[in-house]
Assembly symmetry: C2
Homo-oligomer: 196 residues x 2
DNA sequence: TGGTAACCGGAACACCCCGTCCGGAACTGG
DNA sequence: CCAGTTCCGGACGGGGTGTTCCGGTTACCA
């Protein structure tokens, strides 16, 4: 591979991450190309189609997610560790709006990233099991509730990051088996000043 | 207005409601016209543009919402009434995916519907106040949290209605000032069989 | 019943998107 | 330094959307 080609590849992925972070997945290939200072054909020279391209842009975040789940397993307090993972993922997603999509992408299985995702999920499942065993996490909690949280949070991040944070705080409280209510962030209106 | 014109107007709105209910707002004007057995120009003869058209399709639901909030105010148990309103709105939304969008639409203010919405909001604000006074609803609850719930629920309804119901159950529990955990519906995976 | 005005339908317009093609520029190995 | 291969960028095709135009049709009223 020629040096300019690999430089351009990196520049493309950087541009994609910046734009996806700012605007979510509704970013055209042309916009990415323009941001990278390149032509659209260059994108298609490095990636077969749009989906593969988006997935490639998420490699970094997925690796982060895996590493994070490993660290969480080492925490002696599984409930605290789980909350930490949730907080991290939600923050990562606030800075990278397409995260849930990237996480769910079918085409991950093609590359070895599918395995990385599987390992991260195994870790999280184990973390959930431990947190339930410790009695901090409600017994009827399902790991799929985390996906639920991530997707719901993402949909709110688009309109109001503060609302997303508040939603996450509410949900984390519901997940807890203890009764102590967690403090929620300040209310964030999605409807302008309509609600008092 | 000629009788066929007014008949067609009703047929258009019916078709729109059916399609929006089934597929959300991602329905083309052509699709609505085809469903109504009419040409697309007929749609634009009755409504200036797509947005005004969608808003018009929501007139009925908004009126329902207002009536519902009136009834809820008559309930002696404000917390139960509030949960009832939430349940109704979420169900209405499951059958009418574009509800949150229609509720937030700016252009409502142009027609007299803006006033209907304002009254519904006043009622809900009052309901929240009473539920807090009764001690059932947490003191730091904000009426805007309802908008948060509706939007989050909507985003999940698209992929999994069961997940949306579970989310709502979790949130309602968090909203409660009492400690008794509400039973959550069965877990609903958003990620296929990836999570155990 | 007939004339007219209101109404209708589908084609057409303007604008987006993704993905491809090809002539020209740029890098690199000998 | 130069030839040749790799790479680039803008134009192109196919498909989609919201919106408008115009000739034909239909309902109404006198």
């Amino acid at each position: 591979m020629r040096t300019d080609a690999s430089q351009n590849r990196a520049r493309i992925l950087d541009a994609a991450r910046e734009l996806y972070a700012a605007k979510g997945l509704d970013v055209t290939m042309r916009a990415v190309a323009r941001r990278a200072g390149l032509g659209v054909a260059t994108l298609y020279r490095h990636f077969p189609d749009r989906e593969a391209f988006v997935v490639a842009a998420f490699e970094h975040e997925l690796a982060d997610c895996g590493r994070l789940s490993e660290e969480a397993l080492a925490d002696p307090d599984p409930w605290r560790a789980l909350r930490g993972v949730v907080g991290h993922v939600v923050r990562a997603q606030a800075g990278h709006r397409a995260f849930p999509w990237g996480f769910r992408a079918e085409s991950l299985d093609e590359v070895e990233m599918g395995e990385a995702r599987a390992r991260a999920m195994d870790n999280i499942n184990e973390l959930v099991r431990r947190a339930q065993e410790s009695g901090d996490l409600r017994a009827d909690f399902s790991p799929s509730d985390l996906a639920l949280l991530v997707q719901a949070s993402d949909s709110l991040t688009a309109t109001s990051p503060a609302a997303a944070r508040r939603l996450v705080a509410y949900l984390l409280q519901s997940f807890s088996a203890r009764t102590a209510p967690l403090p929620a962030p300040a209310p964030a209106s999605l409807l302008g000043a309509d609600f008092a």
